[in-house]
Symmetry: C2
Subunit: 203 residues, 2 copies
């Protein structure tokens, strides 16, 4: 017991570890933004050392791009699943996607990382990649989900607002501020308890 215990170091395959780090990075980037996130915070969130996460992706920038790519792919997966479901669903496809969209919020940071990227359009590397993400989503809504331009527009607008309210942590003021309660009741008519449950499991 004089020497430090082996601590049951769970050793993983690099792919498995990479997935873990990507998930942690998604949470950290979503919460603090690209510049506010540190590789050390990602490392601690993933339970590995800081040099390891840097070497895993080469640079912090490459790591963020990997997070972005994963986020948009997962979002498209959820959307595709919603389209498949909506084939024999009474409600419109928009409502169906929207339901899956709100549930994407449970993947902490996924939508927020995307939003954080959307705010960095001026960045020479991240900007073009972020625009490509937005394009992918729009083209999906138009061509795969079969929405008209104005439907896609409205859908995107609602999505941006949901993202913003989550990024703001507006639910923190739900009980204290009547105006906030009214707004959230309006914006999340059916999914409010879900949103509040998300809030209550914060670090």
């Amino acid at each position: 017991m004089t020497t430090t215990a082996p601590e049951t170091t769970t050793r993983m395959r690099s792919e498995e570890r990479r997935a873990l780090v990507l998930e942690a990075a998604t949470r950290v980037f979503g919460e603090r933004g690209y510049h506010g996130a540190t590789t050390d915070a990602v490392a601690r969130a993933a339970g590995v050392s800081q040099p390891y996460v840097v070497r895993m992706f080469g640079t912090k920038e490459a790591m963020f791009l990997a997070v972005l790519d994963r986020a948009v792919e997962r979002m498209m997966d959820a959307f595709r699943a919603a389209v498949a479901e909506s084939a024999d669903a009474p409600e419109g496809i928009g409502r169906c996607i929207a339901t899956n969209y709100v549930e994407l919020l449970s993947d902490r940071g996924l939508l927020l990382s995307l939003m954080q990227a959307f705010m960095l359009g001026a960045d020479p590397v991240i900007g073009p990649e972020a625009r490509a993400c937005m394009r992918k989503v729009y083209v999906f809504l138009r061509e795969e989900a079969g929405m008209a331009p104005d439907e896609a527009h409205e859908f995107l607008a609602t999505g941006m607002m949901l993202n913003t309210l989550v990024g703001l942590r507006m639910a923190d003021d739900y009980e204290r501020e009547p105006a906030v309660r009214e707004l959230l009741d309006e914006v999340f008519p059916t999914k409010l308890e879900f949103l509040l449950s998300l809030r209550d499991r914060e670090s």
Copy 2:
């Protein structure tokens, strides 16, 4: 000519200089976000030294809060003006505010700084202040602009989307990407040439 020329150092009253620095800070924070912006970048954008901007606000955080405060006040001013105009205007009050809103985009960074703050809801200092900004806007729409909850909701959603598309610099791809052209034509039906002109005077 051997000694360095006096360079016509325009000396200002502190209030005037403060306004100049705040405007520069708004641009820099809007473009790079709170963490990505440096006090040095703000100083250079304002044409003063870095220690000066720090001492002017005490800390970078206080400077960002000052930017936030100015931004939300200017937005409310524009909204109030729109409400006054709409008293004897045929189109609805929503459309009238929306017009003024788009024109707020010409104050480079103002809406983007707000959006950047909205994405930092987890920050212990910036978060509460950002939520207060959002509350102010919502309460204004409900009580002063006389909107119903669902009208305010839709208005906010459209605003978030406009902000996001501007932050993304989506207009950069207007000519190159047909999908982007379609989206922007839909979202900015009357104000497109205005948006494109904004894009064309970038640093």
